[in-house]
Structures are given as structure tokens and as C-alpha cells.
Symmetry: C2
């Protein structure tokens, strides 16, 4: 589970100041699938990055799995994220010099876990569910946009995180592939008890969620 | 106008060979707005890159504005693209060290055209139509995903190209902003006589087009 209280975030200063988050109160219960919608520039990615501890809020608190993220130092926060959080970025952020398969296993390598045969099989099965098992030996530049997106999704899921944040995870997927991904996310919440939070601008995608939150100008509408 | 005859494109070799395009015949009439749909990995981006002269086909011909692209040497092709073609990339490809405004004007700078006041005003008006006029002084990293996408669209339109290729141009836009962009693209075709080709996986977006082409496994279905 995760929650935010009075969350604020401002970029820049003076006249050019952007109030990206203007006091967010939000509860994300364990085992539920929440969709976040809203206009481009309304603060959705900023909210997701603050909830996941990837960005420091300007004010307010973020609590994840009982822990106040603002109370952790950088190293502890890094370990905490690795242990509890998976994140699918809006622009994927795959490492260009690693293959798709290496990108997927990276969170486990970084966490110092041994990559045994069982783990490799699990990674392969996950890639297979997402329809990219035949592209694992290729680097991101050799993949289509939607294939890169699905590799990013697999990477976020490989650690079986308590919380999964997905920023527009079906933005480059056709309807069939989209449905498969969304179904997998819903089952992650219902069957594995993961807390799933997904930003989307597509109503069909939001329909898979248990709850829909709408943002407007840095606030929850 | 543009057309392809017997277009093929293969990546890799041996067992891992990917037949991304398997013999494409396609006509894109001047002043018409064509949507290209199809599953992730079906070859849409590859087709767009070959039609725009950004990628060399394996076989077949591409004819743009009466010119066989395969007959041009690299320098002539570069100049030809600059003169006739605008391209919105699936991953935007904005230059990170330039501001949004500088990114938009870049095609004109590269073409050696003087950037006078009238041109700056036109660039500003275009950014305003796309709702990003207030972000022009910021670098891409300081923009939301949808804002970056709209800057990429403005950059492709600034040279008033005969042919505009847009690869998933509304993938990160909410429905309102999406409608504004699609309406602008349709008017570019109908009022300015531009040949507009758009890849999309959203039926609502394809509805703005005059014609819809569907791809499947490297072929037109
Ligand atoms: N440089 C490359 N080397 C090897 N394979 C490639 C390369 N570029 C693309 N491919 C493969 O060619 C196929 C078609 O890719 P393309 O990018 O055209 O698909 P697409 O229809 O645009 O997909 P999406 O909807 O996901 O963007 C994919 O299977 C992709 O993995
Ligand atoms: N580093 C930054 N510096 C300045 N402004 C920023 C920065 N990052 C984001 N912004 C601004 O903050 C606002 C919210 O951005 P955010 O990325 O959260 O929007 P979003 O809702 O995710 O939009 P989209 O749907 O387009 O992805 C935008 O106006 C954006 O330009
Ligand atoms: Mg965003
Ligand atoms: Mg593509």
C-alpha cells in the first residue's frame, strides 16, 4: 500500500515557476489496481515519481509499505525501492548497450541476487506472456516501440514488487497486446496482492482498474 | 504524393532474420490523410522510415514527389528530405541540449534559412496551436511526455513539408489535446494540400483519416 498527504512539487523559480503538484491526498490500497488519468502536463508523471521515491517532493509526505520515504537517506531509499517498487517509465529508460534480456534481469543483478536457472526461466516466461520472448537477444534500438515498452514492463515486474507504477504502459501497443498487458496487471493486483498504479489517457485501459483518479493542474479533481 | 512498389526490408541474418517488410505496394495521394494501423512489431515504423528516406529498403522502390529515393546519393537525399519531408518519430528524438523552441526551429537552421521575426512568430503560433507555447524555453527533460511529443510535432511541421509522416503522434496525449492535434493534421491535408501519413493504434485517431491501411507481419492486410 502507499499514500500521499499534502504532496506538493514545484519546478523552477520566479515567473517561470511550475506548480506541478498542488497538495495531493491519495490512498493506494494494497492489492488494488488504480488508474490515474488527466490532461497532458497535469502532473501525473510527477506524482508517480514522488510516490515511487524517484523524485523528492517539495512538501507533504509519501508513505510506502508503512515507511515515510522522506525519512530515508539516499542509500536506504535506493535499497527500499529495489526491494519494494517496480516502475515502468513513460519513455522506458532501457539501457541501450544491454540486450532486452539483460535489461529485464538488471534489477535482480543490481540487488545482488544470483541469477540461477529458475530465475532465467521466470524472466523468459514473463517475456513470453508479454510477447517479446523472441526479441531477448536484441538491443533496444533493434526493437519496435511497442516491443521496447513491453521489455520495460517485464523489467519492472521481474522483482515481484509490492508496488508497481506504470506510466502509460500501453501507449505504443495495439489493442490485442494492450489487453494482454492490462489483464496481466489486473491479475498481479488480484492474485498476487500487488498494489498497481497506472497512468493512462485511454478509457479502455482505465476500465481494467478498480479505481480511477483524475488529475487537473496538479490537483486531484 | 508518395508510393511504394514491392518494398522489402530484412534485419539480421541466419535464423534470427526478421522480415520486417515483405513486399509492400502502397499509394499515398497528395492532399490525403492516411492512417496506418496494425499490431506491435508488424512493420509500421519500418515502412514509415523507408517511405521518408530515413532507412534504405532491402528491395523494391519508393517514389516521393516524383523522385525515386533509391536513385539519390546520401547528400542529395538529405537535402531532398529537408525540402519535402517532415517526420514525427515514435520516440520524438528531440535534442536534449536544446530548448523546445530551438528544437522546433532546427530544421530551418539546418536548411540554411534565415530565422527572421516572421519565422519566429510562425513557430510560436504553431507551438500555441499545440498548447506548448509556454514551455519553449525549457529543455526536453523539463517537459512532460505529452509536451515533448507536441514539440516533436511542431518541429516536423515548421518547414511546411509536402509530406508529413507521424509515428504514433498522439500516443501520450489526453483526448482533448489529441483531438486538437488530429484536427490540425487533417486541416494540413485538406487546406494546405500536404500528404499526411500517420501510424496509430487508436481507432479514434484513425477516424480522422481519409483512408486506413492495416499491416500484419510485414504486409498490408
Ligand atoms: N535494427 C533492427 N534489427 C533487428 N530487428 C529490427 C530492427 N528494427 C526493427 N526490427 C524488428 O522489425 C520488426 C518491425 O519493427 P517496427 O518498428 O517496424 O514495428 P512497428 O509496427 O512499428 O511496431 P510498434 O507498433 O511496436 O511500434 C519488429 O519485430 C522489430 O523487432
Ligand atoms: N524538470 C522540470 N522542470 C520544469 N518543469 C517541469 C519539469 N518536469 C516537469 N515539468 C513540468 O511539470 C508539469 C507536469 O509534468 P508531468 O510530467 O507530471 O505531466 P504529465 O501529467 O505526466 O503529462 P503527460 O500526460 O504529457 O505525460 C508540466 O507542465 C511539465 O512541463
Ligand atoms: Mg507523463
Ligand atoms: Mg513503431
Amino acid at each position: 500500500a502507499a499514500s500521499a498527504r499534502g504532496l506538493t512539487k514545484t519546478y523552477g523559480g520566479g515567473e517561470a515557476q511550475v506548480h506541478a503538484l498542488r497538495g495531493i491526498d491519495l490512498d493506494l490500497p494494497r492489492g488494488r489496481f488504480t488508474a490515474i488519468m488527466g490532461p497532458s502536463g497535469s502532473g501525473k508523471s510527477t506524482l508517480m515519481h514522488c510516490l515511487a521515491g524517484l523524485d523528492q517532493a517539495g512538501g507533504g509526505t509519501v508513505t510506502v509499505a508503512g515507511t515515510d520515504l522522506g525519512s530515508l537517506d539516499d542509500d536506504t531509499l535506493t535499497i527500499f525501492r529495489r526491494e519494494h517498487i517496480g516502475f515502468v517509465f513513460q519513455s522506458y529508460n532501457l539501457l541501450p548497450m544491454l540486450t532486452a534480456g539483460q535489461n529485464i534481469l538488471l534489477p535482480l543483478e543490481l540487488g545482488g541476487r544470483r541469477i540461477d536457472d529458475a530465475t532465467r526461466e521466470r524472466a523468459h516466461a514473463l517475456a513470453d506472456t508479454l510477447g517479446v520472448a523472441d526479441r531477448l537477444g536484441h538491443r533496444p534500438a533493434e526493437l519496435s516501440g511497442g516491443q521496447q515498452q513491453r521489455v520495460a514492463i517485464a523489467r519492472a515486474l521481474i522483482t515481484r514488487p509490492d508496488l508497481l507504477f506504470a506510466d502509460e504502459p500501453t501507449g505504443n501497443l495495439d489493442s490485442t497486446t494492450s489487453a494482454e498487458v492490462l489483464d496481466h496487471l489486473r491479475r498481479s493486483a488480484r492474485e498476487l496482492g500487488q498494489t498497481v498504479v497506472m497512468v493512462t489517457h485511454e478509457r479502455d485501459a482505465a476500465a481494467y482498474a478498480d479505481d480511477v483518479v483524475t488529475m487537473q493542474d496538479g490537483r486531484i479533481a
